[in-house]
């Protein structure tokens, strides 16, 4: 069923809820030249029920975590607890203006302060900014801090950032945005950063390395201590891409492994909803020497003695005497990276999630995420249809299978992905990382049950058989989704970006 657009549903004269009658005298309008004629406001006209049916019907055309298994690699599509939504809708939080005086917003500021502290503790860092609105935004924040750190030491020649070839595209894109140059590092035969290539590229022009650990192959960097030591010895800093923190939360603290600055994806590891593509949140934590460069303002504790702390150990959650929370901008800050304080509504969901887990619970997340991935991988390997990249290594939260099936030469990863839809599964991430041919990057997350993993493995195995026996079933897939395959080439060539 094709759902008409809001413009196609529009009917002149229809309207939604009305405002109360104007309760002040109407003022003269400015000169007519300022005004938009009423008929020149091309918005649709719908009744409230029209709007409700339209968007409910649209929602039914989505796969989502709440309807289906969604093993999108590197995206950590875990269950989004409903308690987060309930907490985020408390009027004391939603109905607060960001520019109200700090005296009026102490409750929300306390939440932010504690989240700064929790994230620093979880990752082994000294201080955290909550401002960045997404992972890529956090990367930009972190790389700008690295840049400024070197400049502040009077070292202007460090203009290169080393980026492994398995990295997300955001890493090199961020480096360019920060005005620095990307040097790509190859991976070695075990999926690690190639140490020889690293050494060959380390000199006094290197500002740092961006390291995703575990990387996008789902592998923990076997030489992480050596990698970070080498970069530090060369005077560089190590950026940690925290996209895959779900694998090691409670298992390792990146700050203890030699990472200097790292972003978190709260919409991945900390269960805040992905929202169909956002909002996320990308807080950034840093070691002590980078703390002066954090974007401001942060929340700090001001003690009665007038001292200000951004990471206060003697601060008592339940005891409010003797301090107040204030906004604080570090001395060498790179500046603000967005308006106001951060995506508070997202931050508070992550706070709720951390509070519900405690130290033990956080470790169980990583353990079960890694167990689920290894189990799914083991099931596929046991059956044998799908090659798995670096199959001999223990994977972390995800692994990369390949849509290269013996006896089905014409079938590609895309066909397998589309056929999975007919089995009512959202496909994994496809064709990424770029260094694995026909990649199917599978991340089950800890919230899925063994039953779901078995059903998914069964479907993949069944599809491999179909590929050999009835490849057209895959080539023409999906058959049961709301649409057949869509023509992406046409979309890019004959651009239609809006219609009203």
């Amino acid at each position: 069923m094709i759902e008409p657009t809001v413009y196609e549903l529009s009917s002149p004269g229809r309207h939604g809820p009305l405002l109360p009658a104007l309760d002040v005298p109407a003022a003269p309008l400015p000169d007519a030249a300022f005004l938009r004629p009423a008929d020149a406001l091309p918005l649709p006209e719908l009744s409230e029920l029209d709007v409700v049916r339209h968007f409910v019907r649209l929602s039914q055309k989505n796969m989502s975590i709440d309807t289906t298994f969604y093993p999108l690699g590197s995206c950590t599509m875990k269950y989004n607890p409903k308690v987060n939504e309930k907490a985020a809708s408390l009027p004391g939080f939603t109905n607060l203006h960001p520019l109200q005086d700090a005296e009026m917003t102490q409750g929300s500021m306390q939440l932010l302060f504690e989240l700064q502290v929790y994230l620093a503790e979880i990752s082994g860092f000294a201080a955290t900014t909550l401002q960045p609105a997404a992972g890529a935004h956090g990367e930009l924040t972190g790389v700008l801090m690295m840049r400024k750190y070197h400049l502040d030491r009077g070292d202007a020649k460090r203009v290169k950032i080393l980026v492994p070839d398995s990295a997300h595209g955001t890493n090199p894109a961020t480096t360019s945005m920060a005005g620095l140059q990307v040097v790509e590092l190859p991976s070695d035969a075990r999926g690690n950063v190639d140490l020889e290539a690293l050494k060959a590229n380390l000199d006094d022009t290197v500002a740092g390395l961006m390291l995703t650990n575990p990387n996008t192959l789902g592998l923990f960097e076997e030489h992480v201590l050596e990698v970070t030591r080498l970069v530090h010895e060369a005077g560089g800093l190590v950026y940690g891409d925290g996209a895959n923190l779900n694998a090691i939360i409670g298992v390792a603290k990146p700050g203890q492994l030699g990472i200097d600055v790292m972003h978190f994806n709260l919409h991945k590891t900390f269960s805040t909803p992905h929202g169909g593509g956002g909002p996320g949140a990308g807080p950034v934590a840093v070691v002590e020497k980078l703390a002066p460069f954090l974007p401001g303002p942060l929340v700090a504790v001001e003690q009665v003695d007038g001292e200000t702390h951004i990471h206060s150990d003697d601060y008592d959650h339940d005891e409010h005497e003797g301090y107040r929370l204030v906004w604080y901008t570090p001395s060498k800050s790179i500046g603000r990276v967005r308006s106001y304080w951060g995506s508070f509504g997202v931050l508070l969901r992550a706070y709720t999630y951390i509070r519900m887990h405690g130290p033990e619970g956080l470790r169980r997340i990583a353990e079960n995420a890694v167990l689920n991935a290894n189990y799914l991988k083991a099931r596929l390997l046991a059956e044998g249809s799908y090659p798995v990249a670096y199959a001999d290594r223990t994977c972390m939260h995800e692994f990369v299978a390949q849509g290269i099936l013996e006896g089905a030469p014409g079938v590609h990863t895309m066909d397998i992905a589309k056929r999975l839809m007919d089995y009512n599964f959202h496909p994994p991430t496809v064709y990424f990382p770029l260094i694995v041919k026909e990649a199917l990057m599978i991340e089950p997350t800890e919230t899925e049950s063994k039953d779901t993993l078995d059903a998914f493995a069964d479907a993949l195995i069944q599809i491999a058989q179909e590929a050999r026996e009835q490849p057209e079933l895959l080539k023409d897939a999906p058959h049961t989704a709301p649409m057949k395959r869509l023509d992406e080439v046409r979309a890019a060539r004959e651009l239609i970006l809006c219609r009203c």
Partner: protein
């Protein structure tokens, strides 16, 4: 543990399938000395306990529904129809991710396409992207797009001093590695004369010394773009003629004009897209998104068709499926980081899709009539408030031209004192204190009035301001008397 389905029996079966004895064995690649560190965090809470704790934190805030607020400055309290929460709360929307697989993501994709359509219609532009993080980052992306779009290497960026101060700060943060020269927003220049009556002015409408002529004078062959805001940060709305003249002047130098705009104002006023703007962007929070202490918000971003391929961020486009049925996909992805890597137009990946959905539902619900009436009520109520305040002894309305829903009030006493008195005695937040951002204005308050403010509230504001001024006079007299004695 909450939210984990595996039972002990499941775990045992899975470990056996994997071929290890204990879960800990899966982490042998993590250096042993750093494996399983202690986490100094509070112990886990149950759902009941965590909700109790959060309710108590929420109660420590003084939320706006217990106060009367005239605070705006880029984040606004507007009516949000009930359907917005209900529909955007459909978990098929909020628990999906970026629609990489269009066949099973048509809900999100069509909603984004409709959002793009309505935002482009509202701004009078050719095309909209799927969203940026907020108004400030959308402005920074506008500057970057301009740098990539203009002919030749250009490094000068001109920012209006009446562009939101935080947007200007974010542009500087983003640009710090780009070798740019950012000028134009050093200050407002001379102080203004008294108000010349409300709503009738059509001449140069900005505060003196920082009208568009001053910005144009800075514009040269090295300039990539000029960024202004309309209605500007101080509430003044600039005429279409003035905007068009600015656009013509900027284009004569081969530069682009980017305009930040309050989308609600476009229900009543001529959009920048009809006056020569090349990029129109801004904060979309007004469109059905709660204040939420500053986020998540919505950066909207619109452009001319010719520049679309230079733009940043996701864009949905219409196409057909194999059966020829109309459907939607993410398009022009060759601009983006996952394809172009270091040569991408931006590093943006996740955006604010759910907030764009809220805006789409809001615009569809309010519709043509509804948005106009919201804009009209904001306008009339703001004029009513300014007229009342302008008549109070000691107070002065600083805006010289028409304004939309915000205006600047010069106060006879320090703004901090006004705010303190009104909050304590009246439960009123009278507005935003401008003395930090615009010290050259003196003791000025930015007052915001929307359809949410009743006549009664506005009358109370005027009464409270009058009282604050009287008290200040009394206090001065008292101090003087004490000194004389």
């Amino acid at each position: 543990m909450p939210f984990i389905a595996n039972t002990d029996a499941d775990q045992a079966a899975m470990l056996a399938a994997v071929g290890v004895e204990r879960i800990e064995d899966l982490f042998h690649d993590v250096p042993e000395a750093y494996r399983f560190p202690e986490l100094n965090l509070p112990e886990a809470l149950s759902e009941l306990e965590v909700l109790r704790e959060l309710a108590s934190l929420a109660n420590e805030n003084e939320k706006l529904d217990e106060l009367t607020s005239f605070l705006g400055a880029g984040a606004y309290r507007h009516f949000i129809p009930s359907v917005v929460d209900f529909l955007s709360g459909r978990s098929e929307f909020y628990t999906a991710y970026t629609p990489y697989q269009p066949e099973v993501s048509q809900g999100t994709l069509q909603a984004v396409f409709e959002y793009q359509s309505m935002i482009a219609a509202l701004t009078g532009m050719d095309a909209s992207n799927a969203s940026h993080y907020d108004g400030a980052t959308a402005t920074a992306e506008a500057v970057i797009m301009a740098l990539n779009t203009v002919k030749g290497k250009r490094h000068r960026v001109i920012l209006s001093p009446t562009l939101h101060p935080q947007y200007r700060e974010v542009v500087r943060t983003y640009a710090q590695g780009m070798g740019l020269e950012i000028v134009g927003d050093g200050g407002l220049g001379q102080e203004t004369g008294p108000s010349k009556g409300l709503g009738q002015e059509t001449g140069p409408s900005n505060l003196d010394g920082n009208d568009f002529h001053a910005l144009l004078e800075l514009c040269d062959a090295k300039t990539a773009c000029v960024v202004v805001q309309n209605p500007d940060f101080l509430g003044t709305i600039h005429s279409p003629q003035e905007m068009q003249a600015l656009a013509d002047g900027v284009h004569a130098h081969g530069a682009l004009l980017a305009v930040a705009v309050d989308p609600i104002s476009l229900g009543l006023f001529t959009p920048p897209g009809h006056c020569g703007a090349d990029i129109v962007m801004g904060e979309g929070q007004s469109l059905g998104i709660p204040l939420n202490f500053g986020g998540p918000y919505l950066g909207f971003f619109t452009m001319r068709e010719k520049d679309v391929r230079k733009s940043a961020g996701r864009i949905a486009g219409e196409t057909v499926d194999l059966d020829g049925r109309t459907g939607y996909v993410l398009t022009l992805s060759t601009r983006e980081q996952h394809i172009k890597r270091s040569r991408a137009t931006s590093n943006i990946c996740s955006n604010q899709a759910l907030m764009a959905l809220r805006a789409a539902i809001y615009l569809a619900t309010m519709g043509k009539q509804g948005l106009r009436s919201v804009a009209e009520q904001c306008y009339h109520k703001a004029q009513y408030a300014a007229t009342k305040i302008g008549m109070l002894p000691g107070y002065e309305i600083v805006n010289r031209g028409p304004f939309f829903k915000e205006f600047v009030v010069r106060c006879p006493l320090p703004v901090a004192d006004v705010k303190a008195h009104l909050l304590l005695e009246w439960g009123i937040i009278p507005g935003y204190d401008l003395t930090q951002d615009y010290p050259e204005l003196g003791q000025c308050l930015l007052v915001c009035v929307t359809e949410m403010n009743t006549a009664e509230e506005i009358d109370a504001l005027a009464e409270a301001l009058a009282e604050a001024a009287e008290l200040a006079v009394d206090a001065e007299a008292f101090v003087l008397e004490m000194e004389l004695r």
